[in-house]
Each structure stands twice: as C-alpha cells, then as structure tokens.
C-alpha cells in the first residue's frame, strides 16, 4: 500500500513539472530565443516598433478650410451644411440635446480652445469656423470602439459601420472634437406636430436607426465615384480636398503656401482638417 502511494506521488509530481515546463520551453524554442527573460524583451521590442511607425503610408484624405472666405461670404457655411445634411439624411430633432451634426459652424474660441484668445481681433471671433470630423491620422475614437464599428479605412477616412455600432458612445467620449452624434430617437420619426425629422429623404442614401452614433464619413460614397465631398463642392473654393500623403496634391500646395492651424494639436490625434485664418 505504502509503496503504491509513494509511486503515485512521484509520477504525479513529475507529471506536474513536465506539464508546466514543457510548454514554456516549447514556446521559447518556437520563438527561437533563449529561455526566461527572452519572452518579455521580445514583446517590448514589438511594441516599440509599432509606436515608431509614424512614416505615413497609403492615402490620408484631408481638407483645408479657408475661414476668411467663409467669413466674407455669409450663408456659405449654411449652404455647405445643407449640402451635406440633405444628402446624408441627417435628421433635425429640433433641440440642442438631441442634435445630429456631421458638419457645423463653431465660434473661434470654441473651435480652437488651445490657442490664445487674448487680444485676438474682433473679426476672428465673428468668423464662422466650419467644423467636422477631423479624420485623424491617429484617431482616439477608433481605439475606444469595442466592436470596430468605427475604423480607419484605406483612404485614411475614419469610417462608420452602422451595422456594427452597438451605441455604447465610447467613441463620443474619446473624440476631442465633439464630431460624433448619437441617435437618441429614431431619425425616421416625426415630432409631436407631425413634422418628420428628415425633411426630404434622399432615396439614394440610407438613414440611421435609433441607438447608433453617426458622423461625417468624408463622403466616401461620392469619392468612390470620383466626386468631391459634398461640402467641398458647395463651398465655392473655400475648402480644398486632397490626399495629404501625396506630395503633388493640390491640398499640399495650399498647405505649403499658407499658414494653417489644426484643432487641438496637442491631443496627438494628427487631425487632417487644416484651417487658414
């Protein structure tokens, strides 16, 4: 009896040791490294290279907004907003709390909170600043999204996949620009007076449903057919669209000839919307 128990304990002990060490040894052999410390070092190296990868690759579409041109042509901003919102079936819920906006007008001090407002000229404070999704090169909303409903597409556009959105609104909390809106109510509905939230539905573009987050998608559906984004088309030359990673593009020419600023550059998001003041 005793000898049997002794034997059993020996085998169990050996088995336990083999079970723990064998996969460890096997793993490190697979990675082609020496034991123990190798694993951690490897991971750290991988992380480092991922962060260093700042060389722009592929396309990164962006916009330059000439604020002065918008200031000189009153109504132009509203025209751009209308062009976008009517095309994309953006609902108007009639109150600020539920507001859905893809592109909107902001005051200078609200759009450029990081810049000094002390003794800035009065003109600037009156200027309408066209604001929209910045299609950041390093978008915080994309990292926050638990379902990858928002993601960076191959053109550098921060896209929305409404099929996947679960309405958690993490992206709204993550976006430093307030460029995302949540559908608290059904956009297909109507207010208590029977006025539909979408005045005239564009039959060529879907609406959204209650419970998803929406935002500007830089008119990727128009770009696919070789057209400019709707706001750019309506802006009468006050907005310039192009690929920021293409050295020969029109937008890079404008950027090289003008002094431009971005919104909240210190957030580290690398916004793709530039402003000429």
């Amino acid at each position: 009896m005793d000898s049997k128990r002794r034997k059993f304990l020996k085998i169990a002990g050996l088995g336990a040791i083999a079970g723990v060490t064998a996969p460890m040894a096997f793993n490190s052999l697979l990675k082609g490294e020496a034991f123990a410390s190798g694993g951690h070092g490897h991971e750290a190296a991988e992380h480092g290279s991922a962060h260093k990868d700042a060389v722009p690759q592929g396309k990164q579409y962006g916009l330059v907004v000439d604020v002065k041109k918008f200031g000189n042509q009153p109504g132009l901003g509203r025209k751009c907003i209308h062009a976008c919102h009517s095309l994309h079936n953006v609902p108007d819920f009639g109150n600020k709390k539920d507001e859905i906006k893809w592109i909107w007008i902001e005051k200078y001090e609200n759009a450029f909170t990081e810049h000094s407002h002390y003794k800035r000229n009065e003109e600037l404070h009156k200027m309408p600043i066209m604001t929209l999704c910045n299609h950041c090169a390093n978008p915080p909303c994309v990292r926050a999204c638990p379902t990858q409903a928002t993601f960076k597409n191959k053109d550098g556009i921060v896209m929305m996949d409404y099929h996947r959105c679960i309405g958690c609104r993490f992206c709204m909390a993550a976006c430093p620009y307030g460029a995302r809106s949540f559908n608290w109510r059904s956009p297909r509905g109507a207010n208590e007076l029977g006025k539909p939230f979408i005045k005239r539905i564009n039959p060529d573009y879907p609406t959204r449903m209650r419970g998803v987050v929406e935002k500007c998608t830089l008119c990727n559906e128009r770009l696919a057919h070789g057209k400019l984004p709707a706001c750019v088309e309506a802006s009468n030359g006050a907005m310039v669209f192009g690929d920021l990673n293409d050295p020969g593009s029109a937008i890079n020419k404008v950027l090289s000839e003008n002094f431009t600023i971005q919104r909240k550059p210190s957030a580290g998001t690398n916004p793709s919307i530039f402003y000429i003041l």
Partner: protein, 127 residues
C-alpha cells in the same frame, strides 16, 4: 403503472394538441410564396439557386467589402450584364423594384424579419 387511466388520455390529448398544425392543414404547406421577378433582367448577379438559399450571405459580403474595404466595384458575373453597385438600394432594388412583392413575399412566409430597412430606404411601392 399507477394512474394509467389518467396518464394515457393525457398523453393522447397532448400528442393531438402538439400535432394540431399538421393535421389541421392536412399536411399542406399552405400557399407558397411567389416573389415577383424583375421584368428588365433575366439573370441575377448569381445563379437563381444560390440566390434563393444564400442571398443573405451575399448581401453581408457586399456590405463588408463596400463599408470596410471600400470596394464598391461593379459585379459582372451575370450573363454579360454589368451591375453597377454592390448596393441594396442602388443595386438590387433597381431591378427588384418592389419590396412588398419580392422581399416580403418569402420573408413573411418564413417569418423572418431582416433589419435591412431599419436604415436602408425601400423603393416607393407603385400601387
């Protein structure tokens, strides 16, 4: 067995109730759905058999390639006819002009409720 007199009639009633739909309809599956075929095209983007069983997978594939990979390209696989868009609203529904007469016909019969039309806009029904 105890209570045979209660259990047996109970079982018979139970079996009768459970199979009620079968014998009530006399083994008939009811009127089969007849989705309206488009008049302007003979072939769909895939063979009819495939479309009948797997159109939902194809639609999901279209959705993923368009939204996530930005591949909107034309689909050319049907009898030399080029279909422009991998799109429900701008593709499928240009031929299948009526949701009521095409989609709903089978979906109602099979009691499935796809959520396409929560966001996508169905074509205007003509009558």
């Amino acid at each position: 067995m105890y209570d045979m007199k209660k259990i047996l009639p109970g079982l018979i009633i139970f079996a009768g109730l459970m199979t009620f739909p079968i014998w009530y309809n006399g083994g008939d599956a009811g009127t089969l759905p007849k989705p309206e075929k488009p008049s302007n095209a003979k072939e769909c983007v895939r063979p009819t058999e495939y479309m009948r069983t797997s159109h939902m997978q194809l639609l999901n594939e279209f959705r993923d390639t368009v939204v996530r990979e930005s591949e909107r390209g034309a689909i050319k696989e049907a009898g030399g006819v080029t279909y422009d868009d991998k799109s429900l609203m701008l593709g499928c529904m240009k031929c299948h002009v009526s949701k009521k007469k095409f989609c709903d016909e089978c979906h109602t019969y099979a009691a499935v409720k796809p959520y396409c039309w929560d966001c996508h806009i169905q074509p205007k029904e003509t009558n």
